[in-house]
């Protein structure tokens, strides 16, 4: 499968490394090329350095049919805007957005998007550890 990941921070990079080892083809886009340093040197990980709002960059990332688009930049609002723009422009079926703000995550779930909210996961993990003891 061809998966495009926007944002090559800790999550983006390590997700790319994990997915490529499962046999997928990965395209990682980030506007800061120093962020690519955690990416594995693997023939199936393609790096695109540039701003996704620049049409040349988004065209380059989506030349071939994209099966999944994962948006994990550090900014919630950028994530939801990019996700909607790219999904619409390139007709991508599966889009996954990371949103830190749990309230905002709910809003975009209501709008039908697949949302990953790390804040909620962290809280529920803490609750598992802290919960049983009264």
């Amino acid at each position: 499968m061809r998966i495009v990941i926007l944002g090559s921070g800790r999550v983006g990079s390590h997700l790319a490394n994990a997915l490529v080892n499962k046999g997928h083809t990965i395209v990682v886009v980030d506007d800061k090329d120093r962020k690519f340093k955690s990416l594995e040197d693997h023939p199936d990980i393609h790096r695109i350095h540039g701003n996704i709002f620049d049409e040349k960059i988004s065209d380059q990332a989506c030349t071939e049919k994209v099966d999944k688009f994962v948006v994990v930049t550090g900014n919630d609002n950028i994530n939801v805007m990019v996700a909607q723009a790219i999904q619409k422009k390139y007709q991508i079926q599966e889009v996954y957005i990371r949103i830190f703000d749990p309230d905002l995550a709910d809003v975009y779930r209501m709008l039908g998007f697949e949302i990953i909210c790390p804040t909620n996961y962290t809280i529920s993990e803490f609750m598992k550890l802290l919960g049983p003891k009264k």
Binding site: N77, V80, Q84, A85, D103, L104, V107, Y108, M110
Partner: protein
Amino acid sequence: MYIIVVGGGKIGYHLTKFLLAEKNEVLLIENDEARVAELSAEFGESVMEGNGSRVPILREGGANRADVLVAVTGVDEDNLVICQIAKTVFKCPRTIARVNDPRDEALFSAMGVDATVSSTRLINSLIEEQVNANSTMIPLLTLSAGNVEIIEADISSRSEMMGKKVKEVNLPEGARIVAILRETEVVIPTGDSLFGPGDKIMVLVKKDVEQALRKML
């Protein structure tokens, strides 16, 4: 009407001022503490500090009863998110977003924002209008290696030629009116022909006096 304005920059400031003067109930939401202090000095209770792209802030601002929400921050993704929250969570009947990058306009409309305002596009179309307004002369034919041309031009209502006879108009040396186009009629002018509203003229003109002719139209 109850109107929420998000973003207290120049646009948000003037918009709020205008809306208050029009006797609307307005809440201006601004994120920057120092800016809030400035705005509060003028607008008092109509200003609230907070990040308008957060659900609890909009709730506190009474987004659920807002008739209109206007997002005018300088950041497009924030404006989009603000409007989408207002629509989705608070069922706001009308959302308006400022679009800083004109390329985002189509996306905003497709994503449910009711109206967009792009200052870049507005300025572009104003300039375009100006450019067109000044190029009322249409070159029809270029003769003699580009030194002489026949042009068609509108006579504007402010033109010094308006209401005068051909012989009363001091055309620059090197320009000769060959026809007056009046609706469907073509008038071969004599010295007594009058220039009236809506008339166009065809002029045989040397390139070097074109600018002088343009000033008379």
